[in-house]
């Protein structure tokens, strides 16, 4: 049976034909390739390499970027791609988010012409995989105090430090690494063969199991001078990247929620208890109704934000709101869906707990729920409440 997504307020009618065709192409790919294989990939803790190849061939990596072989799609189209990928699994969408928004985007916006021509076409094709090194073992919500540093050695830079929680790290051909050069945060392109660089995989995860999560370790890592991203200094660099990824996540979370909703609805209609389907009982209907309400609100939030991204009128605080709200509602929906599925909900026969576990990571990465909350708080009051110091 082809997948039918909940679309109560008919957001579909607001899409262009092109956006719908792109969404449908990704939707079909997820149905045929991700859904039948994701539970095994999750159990084996592997990101199937074929998916990298397929996503490259589909042309969806770095979707909104213009030029250098990239399609320059609307942000609505990018959002739809994220929605469909995450309906399959948050780990698949993470691969695409990191590749497009966190690795390709900084080269596109802050790189030299040579860097753009050298890296972007191959990254769009899925041939070279990128990752984004900002977070450190001791610096997550506070990236500004990072200790990974770069020293100018005349004919090369020397990097020392470590990054943690880096999606794609171990399989990446290149890493966009943010490090302090003379106390100022700059972006550097580190390639996997550069001496002094290793990217061991982090194992033992209960979440995003079908995604590669790594440490990036720099021990006197030498990189050529032409690897610095010339176009940006300070946190503005990484934050620009994160804004794009966060936008994609606001759509992705809707996809995960839609998947959980569909499963819960189907289960409730089939599961007979006390001679009637549980969908006929009021408490179950209450839960399904709440899910529909939140998914609908989340869809409209993401769609309108996409329009603002496309016409340039967006603000980072608006992105914070969408990311925070949609991930929150998706996680709550996953939990509620597990409840509706009863004991069956704990089996990987159903996607529920996989989505639930994944969304715990999605709630924390790309800016934790609480941080986005405080971003909104600062917007409302003008007073930052992140730190004790003013």
């Amino acid at each position: 049976m082809a997948y039918e997504a909940l679309d109560f307020y008919d957001v579909d009618s607001l899409l262009t034909d092109e956006e719908r065709m792109i969404r449908d192409a990704v939707r079909d790919w997820v149905d045929e390739n991700v859904i039948p294989n994701i539970e095994k990939a999750c159990r084996d803790e592997v990101f199937p390499d074929q998916w990298r190849v397929d996503l490259g061939e589909m042309g969806v990596l770095g979707a909104p970027l213009e030029g250098y072989g990239c399609p320059g799609l609307s942000y609505i189209a990018y959002g739809l791609i994220c929605q469909e990928l995450e309906r399959g699994d948050s780990g698949v969408r993470s691969f695409a988010s990191v590749q497009g928004s966190l690795a390709m985007y900084p080269i596109w916006d802050f790189g030299s012409e040579e860097q753009k021509n050298h890296y972007l076409p191959k990254m769009h094709a899925g041939e070279w995989v990128g990752c984004f090194g900002l977070t450190e073992p001791d610096y997550g919500s506070n990236p500004g105090d990072m200790i990974t540093r770069a020293e100018d050695k005349g004919d090369h830079y020397l990097l020392n430090g470590a990054k943690m929680w880096i999606t794609n790290g171990t399989i990446a051909d290149l890493a966009i690494v943010w490090a302090k050069l003379d106390g100022v945060i700059r972006g550097f392109i580190v390639e996997k063969e550069d001496p002094g660089f290793t990217a061991p995989e982090m194992t033992g995860k209960h979440s995003l199991k079908a995604s590669v999560t790594s440490e990036l370790v720099f021990q006197d890592c030498r990189i050529p001078k032409d690897r610095i991203l010339p176009g940006v200094e300070g946190l503005k660099g990484p934050f620009s990247c994160l804004n794009n990824a966060r936008y994609g996540i606001s759509w992705g979370a809707v996809g995960a929620a839609q998947s959980c909703f569909n499963s819960a609805r189907e289960y409730a209609l089939s599961r007979i208890q006390f001679d009637h389907p549980i969908a006929s009982y009021q408490l179950v209907q209450n839960k399904l109704s709440w899910m529909l309400r939140e998914i609908t609100k989340g869809q409209l939030l993401a769609f309108h934000l996409g329009k603002k991204k496309d016409d340039g009128t967006w603000t980072p605080e608006q992105i914070s709101l969408a990311k925070m709200n949609n991930v929150d509602m998706a996680l709550e929906i996953a939990r509620m869906a597990r409840d509706i599925h009863g004991a069956n909900g704990i089996l990987d026969e159903y996607p529920i707990m996989r989505h639930m576990a994944n969304l715990e990571s999605v709630k924390t990465y790309e800016g934790t729920h609480d941080i986005h909350n405080l971003i909104i708080g600062r917007h409302i009051t003008g007073i930052q409440a992140f730190t004790r110091e003013p």
Partner: protein
């Protein structure tokens, strides 16, 4: 070489079909798609074109909504798109539909026609053979594969004992059953380029076909008869009864 692919837009095979006022309610159809056998025909035609060159022209006869299907064909590689606008295909009989399609193929100047063996709405199978006759072309049906062989073609089609390889020259029509390859997925580049493709739209009158006076008129559509409630039987002796019911009540064997 010009390859014409005849495509029909039908309700997606997973879509619910409802009857309202004695007619299937098209407005209630949630999703429209290529007729499934047409997809195999399109994929095979794309492979022939990629191997040997030529232009692939996607043709459809149907209402305005069918234009979207032509764009989908462009997204996977159709070079040109032709839409013969007919608001109500149900009001035409096979002689009229075939005349329209044959005239369109002649207008395009194609030597080879690919189509599905039968459309998923009518489940008939008249178009391929009928259009072949009107074009004075050979016809091979129940095809699963086609390959170019110099100026001719070989095809694999179903036979009583399994499959057989046949040879045929153009002009010819291939009517596809389930093919060996599924229709390729469009990628972003294909979708973006498809946006720019102009659809050549025409009416049956433009092709010299009169659509009045059909010899077949639809009286009514109705939903399938209600299934009787589930019946339970004891013991293996009841197998005979059940088999009889499967044949006579359910008509599934």
């Amino acid at each position: 070489m010009g390859i014409a692919v005849l495509l029909k837009q039908v309700p997606d095979t997973t879509a619910k079909i409802t009857v309202s006022g004695g007619r299937v309610d098209e407005a209630a159809v949630s999703k429209w798609s290529f007729s499934p056998y047409d997809e195999y025909a399109l994929e095979s035609a794309l492979q022939i074109k990629e191997a040997g060159g030529g232009d692939l022209i996607a043709v459809t006869c149907g209402p305005a909504r069918a234009a979207k299907m032509l764009t989908d064909a462009a997204a996977v590689g159709a070079d040109a798109l032709v839409h013969i606008l007919v608001d109500d295909l149900g009001a035409l009989d096979t002689t009229q539909v075939q005349a329209i399609l044959a005239a369109a193929v002649k207008h395009i100047g194609a030597d080879v026609v690919f189509c599905g063996k039968q459309a998923a709405d009518t489940n008939a199978g008249s178009t391929g053979p009928g259009v072949a006759h009107l074009l004075d072309a050979s016809c091979v049906t129940m095809v699963s594969e086609v390959a170019a062989d110099g100026d001719s073609f070989t095809a694999i089609r179903a036979s009583a004992g399994g499959n057989e390889r046949v040879a045929v020259s153009s002009p010819c029509v291939f009517a596809f059953d389930k093919g060996t390859t599924e229709l390729r997925r469009p990628n972003v580049r294909g979708i973006m380029m498809a946006k720019k493709k102009i659809i050549e739209t025409m009416t049956p009158a433009d092709l010299g076909v009169d659509t009045g006076s059909s010899s077949v008129s639809i009286d009514t559509h109705s939903p399938p008869p209600e299934k009787p409630p589930g019946q339970k039987f004891e013991g293996a002796e009841s197998v005979a009864t059940v088999v009889g019911k499967l044949r006579d009540e359910a008509n599934v064997i």
